[in-house]
């Protein structure tokens, strides 16, 4: 529902008075879906609109008083069934900087301990009149399920199982664009535990949607059972990939999800797939080193490499707040529908 454009010019009125398009995005349909569940729900235009809005919130974050009244009176609940430092704090900080109220739910101190089901938990929280739920859960699809149960609240996926972590991918896109100017044509290597990584799944979708080419580098045991339909190349040799990439994105080895012997030993993994000091020298000058955190120093990345100037790991965290402000504002404040 974009405003139609017409060049109906009255006599004596110059062509510049003709109308230019106003709203790029359509207004939200009443009852329309207003969630962020997956990068797959966003097209290139949607991702770019979020990145454009992130620019504005980066500026807000740099102000002497980094807070705007945009979401006054809204309440954001973080519902985390899995441990998290940065995602939860980042969402809460983003909500506070938009003047929303925040509530935090952790499984260990809740009625979930008494056996309350997920559905009852969600309905209880929603009955209190909240506007958004940020969910993290170890099972894929939980945010989608919650979105089907809720009536008014927007649901934001803060990471579901091995499936997706959309705000991480958005902040990664923003960081790469900020550091390298654009995503188009960038060669990005995603290295490590692809199999268990929701970050990798969201990143592949987002990076390729914005025109980057992605190479996955991992031992066969740490790749998904099938890569059919993934718009990526695959390599098992990090040393061959590093000299020709613009961004190397290291993933955390998710030992808590490994129930079988997928690796001979951590030392062997580091020797073949870790970004050691020697290996970091293979990178072209200016190539970025990224990691979603938390970092296992000495496993997937050497401690001194993580602190190199071209490592943007802390910048990713800083940009995460602004990206999440953009997502919360789009879903709760803007009145526009990204089609998600």
């Amino acid at each position: 529902m974009t405003a139609t454009v017409s060049a109906t010019a009255a006599p004596g009125v110059g062509p510049a008075a003709a109308v230019r398009p106003a709203a790029r995005l359509s207004t939200a349909k009443p009852g329309g879906r207003r969630h962020l569940l997956s990068i797959a729900d966003l097209d290139r235009e949607g991702i770019e609109e979020i990145l454009r809005l992130t620019d504005m919130f980066v500026e807000v974050s740099e102000r002497p008083i980094p807070r705007v009244p945009a979401l006054r009176g809204k309440t954001v609940v973080s519902l985390f069934f899995e441990d998290s430092t940065r995602t939860r704090l980042s969402f809460e900080m983003a909500a506070k900087r938009l003047s929303a109220d925040t509530m935090s739910f952790s499984v260990s101190t809740s009625a979930v301990k008494k056996g309350e089901s997920l559905r009852d938990t969600v309905e209880t929280i929603e009955a209190m009149g909240i506007d958004a739920i940020v969910v993290r859960h170890s099972a894929a699809g939980v945010p989608w399920q919650i979105a089907n149960w809720t009536e008014g609240a927007a649901v934001i996926n803060g990471g579901d199982g091995w499936h997706e972590h959309p705000t991480q991918a958005l902040l990664d896109c923003y960081t790469i664009r900020q550091q390298r100017g654009r995503l188009d044509g960038q060669r990005i290597a995603i290295v490590g535990d692809i199999r268990h990584s929701r970050v990798a799944r969201s990143d592949v979708l987002a990076f390729t949607a914005l025109g980057a080419s992605v190479t996955l580098v991992a031992p066969p045991t740490l790749l998904p059972p099938t890569l059919a339909g993934w718009p990526v190349e695959v390599s098992h040799r990090l040393d061959e990939v590093l000299p020709s990439c613009d961004v190397v994105y290291l993933l955390r080895l998710q030992r808590e999800r490994m129930q079988e012997a997928l690796l001979p030993s951590l030392r062997e993994y580091t020797a073949t797939y870790g970004l050691t000091r020697q290996r970091a020298r293979l990178l072209v000058p200016g190539a970025l080193i990224m990691h979603p955190g938390p970092v296992n120093r000495g496993v997937e990345i050497a401690a001194e490499v993580a602190d190199q100037p071209n490592s943007v790991i802390t910048r990713q965290v800083r940009n995460g707040v602004a990206v999440r402000m953009a997502v919360l504002y789009l879903l709760l404040g803007s009145g526009v529908d990204l089609g998600v």
Partner: protein, 189 residues
């Protein structure tokens, strides 16, 4: 925000049909020239004056005002831009998206800020701008310069420098551009 965007944005979406040319580019130039003189006169020079254009319509006018002030006084005053989307009181009532990032080049504490916009209508954008400004420091004074004051204020806000007072109907629209100032109607689609 330029009035044209707002009028065309859903749910008010429609077509802008230009009707009367109110000011031609030379009229606009003369008005800017006069307002620049008035700004210097009122502030006894340009000391501590900062011009801040409201996104998007006020920004080009703010730039032209700064150039005119420079030509008259020989001093280029700091110019900034401000997007007030996150401060609007109609968030949730209509789509509100910022147009461009805010850029405030200096700490505003102790400065005389001249807010610049193309059209002054209900005064709600200016109200939002005043709130936004306070997050950048405590200005000594805030003044308001607009190319067109079209009336219909909903808040106790008045301009200090006016290019042209233009009586309008509420449902009309005023377009300010390089081509001058045009009064027209918004036709429903």
């Amino acid at each position: 925000m330029a009035e044209r965007e707002r009028a065309l944005a859903p749910p008010y979406g429609g077509l802008f049909v230009p009707r009367t040319k109110v000011m031609d580019p030379d009229d606009v130039k003369r008005a800017i020239w006069r307002m620049a003189h008035e700004i210097i006169e009122r502030n006894h020079g340009t000391d501590r004056v900062v011009l801040i254009g409201l996104q998007t319509g006020g920004v080009p006018i703010g730039g032209r005002l700064a150039e005119a002030v420079d030509s008259v006084s020989g001093v280029m005053v700091p110019i900034g831009s401000l997007d007030v989307a996150f401060y609007r009181d109609d968030i949730g009532l209509r789509p509100v998206l910022p147009e461009a990032a805010t850029h405030i080049p200096v700490d505003l504490t102790g400065k005389t800020v001249v807010l610049v916009d193309d059209v002054l209508f209900t005064g709600r954008t200016v109200r939002a701008a005043l709130n936004a400004l306070s997050d950048y420091g405590r200005a000594r004074a805030v003044q308001l310069a607009v190319m067109v004051d079209r009336g219909h204020r909903e808040l106790p806000i008045r301009p200090d420098y006016v290019g042209k007072n233009l009586p309008t109907r509420r449902d009309e629209m005023v377009d300010v551009s390089e081509e001058g100032v045009v009064l027209g109607d918004v036709m429903p689609r």
